[in-house]
């Protein structure tokens, strides 16, 4: 395993993680703008985290130790993903050939425990959310692995560091830009799915029956809920960083300049998520699989195209 002791790698990781809640504020601001409102303050998510961390918790009498494990594991697995991700073209803290497989499976582990924690409460609503979560994420996972297959076909790489800092860079400015364009669309759909955003899920809806992710964490409170929120921020940060690394060739520029461009692109991606949320309504539940399968079809098509292009 390559372990980078570089100060900049740690710094980039810490900066990215500490900015994650701020980026979430961007979505809220964009939505407020379209709603003709002033919206919450930019730092709203930090205030929420601090508020939650200062509170105690109420546990349902139905729950077991799994209910408390859920938040911890979902946060740890999402955070581990970031340890392996090269932010703004800087080498990641850790990386090895094949790390993407274990990282996406760790995300699966986090989901496994989030879902179990939801079922632990004996609430029919949380069961409903859990059933949707496992179904939709299975479809999204298939897309992700086709993307990994495509990247391997293009570059022979099997880790984030190799994708974005190695010899064979994959991004929109490389030879296979046309294919990456399809990947970008697919990846954005996966981002919306995995982070429970509109049109797959509506984090701001008022009715438990129509929720996916939010309903699963109804019974969590206090620091537990803060961990879940932090995990969700990390996951969103990861997918956005993934997309932005595909959008811009960070391996060419230098440190500070790259960091600036990276932040701008990240802000734009979050703004687009907010934009999508402002101008579309969520799909009916039975439409969601089709929406996610669109992403699968796109990347599968791209992969088939490589049979002619990449010899």
């Amino acid at each position: 395993m390559d372990f980078t002791f570089s100060f900049t790698s740690f710094l980039s990781l810490l900066t990215a993680v500490s900015l994650a809640p701020l980026f979430m504020g961007v979505i809220l601001k964009v939505k407020a703008f379209f709603g003709g409102k002033q919206g919450p303050p930019w730092l709203i998510k930090y205030y929420t985290l601090i508020k939650l961390l200062r509170k105690g918790s109420v546990y349902s009498t139905s729950t077991t130790f799994i209910f408390k494990l859920g938040p911890i594991i979902s946060f740890v697995t999402a955070f581990m993903l970031l340890l392996f991700f090269p932010f703004a073209g800087l080498p990641p803290v850790l990386s090895f050939h094949g790390d993407v497989i274990i990282l996406f499976y760790l995300l699966g582990l986090g989901r496994f425990f989030t879902v179990l924690a939801a079922l632990d409460t004996a609430s029919p609503f949380e069961g409903m959310g859990a059933a949707r979560e496992v179904f939709f994420s299975t479809l999204a996972e298939a897309t992700i692995f086709v993307i990994l297959a495509l990247f391997f076909r293009l570059s022979g790489s099997l880790s984030f560091a190799e994708y974005f800092t190695g010899d064979q860079i994959v991004n929109l400015w490389s030879q296979s830009a046309a294919l990456i364009l399809l990947v970008l669309i697919a990846l954005f759909i996966v981002l919306l799915t995995e982070n429970s955003r509109v049109p797959v899920d509506d984090p701001a809806t008022h009715l438990e029956l129509t929720m996916i992710h939010e309903v699963m964490i109804l019974d969590h409170s206090g620091p537990d809920l803060a961990l879940i929120e932090m995990g969700a921020f990390c996951k969103m940060l990861f997918y956005s960083a993934f997309i932005s690394s595909l959008l811009y060739p960070f391996h060419t520029g230098s440190g500070l300049y790259n960091g600036l461009i990276f932040s701008i692109i990240m802000t734009l991606i979050y703004a687009v998520v907010g934009l999508v949320e402002s101008i579309t309504a969520r799909y009916k539940m039975d439409m969601v699989p089709n929406f996610i399968l669109t992403s699968f079809a796109l990347v599968f098509f791209a992969t088939i195209l490589t049979m002619e292009f990449v010899q």
């Binding site: 105690g56 740890v76 697995t77 850790l94 499976y105 699966g108 079922l119 179904f135 620091p223």
Partner: protein, 652 residues
């Protein structure tokens, strides 16, 4: 070899002494279980030692009835399959000590132990057989002994039916294997294994397919899996554990062994195996999601895991055919390691299910609930088994799936169909992984978490010590392989060295990757403990109270309102509707104040329906027409035999 025979002798002594002492129930059980465990321990140590020492193959041959020779040989791949055979059988025997506790059924239990010993011996012999005749004999012995184990509860009609279906499948499968053997014999002219590699390519394909059908029906490859969901629920749980954990792997062993012996060069073999793996893997888990009976669900998961094993082997075969060493090495190592891994977590899960069924009296998932509090140890070990079988880190299922992924990814550089099959394998593995996680969150969530849905689930208590201990052992092994995979992967790779392409391949890629995985997993645990500590700190001095679950405004919840396994899996099952038939019956709500309503759903197995319509019914129709041949007249029957011999003499 002597140690191997000593082990078998001890096991058989355990089985036979049970028959002699069946009137003294406890003594019989102690004697049988000790002898079987002792023999298995000896056999397992011997096999592990052979693998670690890279011992040269040993063989044994005994001439028999002048023409036949009874030959055994233990090479790396045999030793690799012997390890799960002995380990799982020993652990399941320990489990049976408290599981079989009906002192009134002394004779039945004794017979069970006798055939249990016979099954272990026959499986060991299958794994070591060194010619066609020995293989066929050991195979039949294995089928017959497992048949008697399945019909332990012979008073129940469901059990007898299950036994009948199992017997039909196992004998029909054996017919195909024997047909394949006959075909091979017609080309080589002897029963030995040595000459098989030299037969023509077209003959190799035909023989392989015949053996694949035969072994596949034992392994539970879809669509030949129909006996599994009948036999496993009917059999006692320790028998299900051994049958699902080890015996079906003998089908895989047959496929691997004859693949190695035939040394085919065509890529077609790998493509067939990958296609079968995809079908078994995906549909197996989808059917599992639709099932309500916990042991039936686990049986379908065996089909799924056989699919994963086949994907690994198929990738290996494709790599061999295309000369891609990384692909071949990782594919075979992954497939073989999954054989070991699946035997560990599947028997763990069957033992957990057996404990649940014994303590609650029900196997219906939708009637259970809240058992984590009542059966804490079984619940926790079942949770570990569930994470392992879903292929998630930090447990062993992930390691073998990782190897298969790695092999499949390295097949992406190939051109044409080989590329497409590599993509297919990757997509299948990803889909199977997601669906398996869906299925096992359902089982753990509905059976062990939440509130009990029935009185008997509320009254359950933890199973006895000897039923819990084996589960803990297996759970520890699952975690151990997950954290320190290097040696296990090494052993699995050594076993696949029998492939000529890999004979001189130095697995320089294995060790660093396994070390990296191991480090990542340890990092996960460190972070996990760190965050757990941090969370504790945040709760210091805080008010922590308990209350009912938030009912979203509804104040009179009942346990019956919880999401059931059926509703949990409904949307996924619906999604796969073209391949799966769901029958739902419910009374419509037609009044303003609805009365009592009912709902039932049943997921039908399409292959079962297909086999019924296209095979069973036409055959029955035909045989009905030929009924006049059976008239009960002995003289004419002898006439038939004479006639048959004469006809054969004329034609051959």
């Amino acid at each position: 070899m002597n140690l191997f025979f000593l082990a078998l002798l001890l096991i058989s002594a355990g089985g036979t002494q049970a028959l002699a002492t069946f009137r003294l129930y406890s003594l019989m059980k102690v004697g049988a279980v000790t002898a079987i465990i002792g023999g298995c321990a000896l056999g397992a140590c011997n096999a592990v030692w052979r693998l670690l020492q890279h011992a040269d193959p040993v063989s044994y041959s005994h001439s028999w009835l002048q023409t036949f020779s009874f030959s055994l040989k233990i090479d790396a791949i045999s030793a690799f399959f012997l390890v799960p055979v002995f380990i799982i059988s020993a652990v399941a025997a320990l489990y049976s000590f408290q599981y079989l506790n009906d002192a009134k059924r002394g004779a039945g239990t004794a017979i069970n132990y006798f055939f249990y010993a016979l099954l272990i011996i026959s499986m060991a012999l299958v794994a070591c057989a060194d010619n066609l005749i020995t293989f066929a004999l050991a195979w039949e012995l294995m089928s017959v002994s497992s048949f008697f184990l399945v019909i332990y509860d012979v008073q129940k009609k469901a059990t007898r039916d299950a036994g009948y279906i199992y017997f039909l499948f196992t004998q029909a499968g054996a017919l195909f294997i024997f047909a394949g053997f006959g075909f091979l014999y017609s080309h080589t002219g002897n029963f030995g294994f040595e000459a098989l590699a030299s037969i023509p390519d077209s003959a190799k394909l035909i023989a392989f397919i015949l053996i694949l059908i035969g072994c596949g029906s034992k392994a539970g490859i879809m669509p030949l899996h129909i006996w599994l969901p009948y036999a496993h629920p009917a059999a006692p749980s320790h028998v299900s554990a051994v049958m699902s954990g080890v015996m079906i792997k003998m089908g895989i062993y047959g496929i691997v062994r004859f693949y190695l012996l035939l040394e085919p060069t065509s890529a077609l073999f790998g493509q067939i195996i990958i296609t079968l793996g995809t079908i078994s893997g995906i549909l197996g888990v989808v059917y599992a999601i639709g099932k309500h009976d916990i042991k039936r669900l686990l049986a379908y998961h065996s089909v799924e895991n056989i699919g994963i094993i086949l994907l690994g082997l198929g990738i290996g075969m494709l790599g061999t055919a295309t000369g891609n060493k990384t692909m071949a090495a990782f594919g075979f190592a992954g497939g073989l390691l999954h054989v070991l891994n699946h035997s560990l977590f599947k028997s763990l899960l069957f033992m957990g299910a057996g404990a649940v069924i014994q303590q609650t009296g029900s196997a219906s998932i939708d009637q259970l609930g809240g058992l984590m509090k009542k059966m804490p140890v079984t619940g926790r070990s079942f949770l570990i088994g569930s994470i392992s079988i879903s292929g998630l880190p930090p447990f062993n299922g992930f390691i073998s799936e990782f190897l298969i992924y790695y092999g499949a990814f390295h097949g992406l550089h190939l051109q044409g169909t080989s590329f497409l099959f590599s993509v297919l394998a990757i997509i299948s593995l990803a889909t199977i992984g997601g669906l398996a996680a869906a299925c096992f969150t359902k089982v753990v969530g509905v059976v062990f978490l939440g509130e009990p849905r029935s009185d008997f689930a509320a009254r359950a208590s933890e199973a006895g010590f000897f039923m819990v201990l084996p589960q803990l052992l297996l759970a520890a092994l699952c975690l151990g392989i997950g954290i320190w995979p290097a040696h296990f992967v090494q052993v699995a790779f050594e076993a696949s060295r029998a492939i000529p392409l890999l004979a001189n391949y130095e697995p320089t890629q294995f060790m660093p990757i396994m070390t990296n995985i191991s480090r990542t997993v340890i990092l996960f645990f460190l972070l996990f403990f760190g965050i757990t500590l941090l969370r504790k700190l945040f709760y210091v001095g805080k008010e922590v109270t308990s209350s009912g679950t938030w009912g979203c405004g509804f104040t009179q919840p009942t346990a019956r309102m919880q999401y059931t396994g059926t509703s949990y899996g409904d949307s996924i099952v619906d999604f796969f509707r073209p391949f799966i038939r769901v029958e739902k019956k419910y009374s419509e709500i037609d009044k303003i104040f609805p009365g009592k309503t009912t709902y039932s759903s049943h997921v039908h197995d399409s292959s079962e329906i297909g086999m019924n319509t296209f095979l069973v019914r036409p055959v029955l129709y035909l045989l009905n027409k030929l009924r006049w041949i059976q008239h009960g007249n002995i003289q004419l029957y002898i006439g038939y035999i004479v006639l048959a011999i004469v006809v054969m003499l004329i034609f051959i």
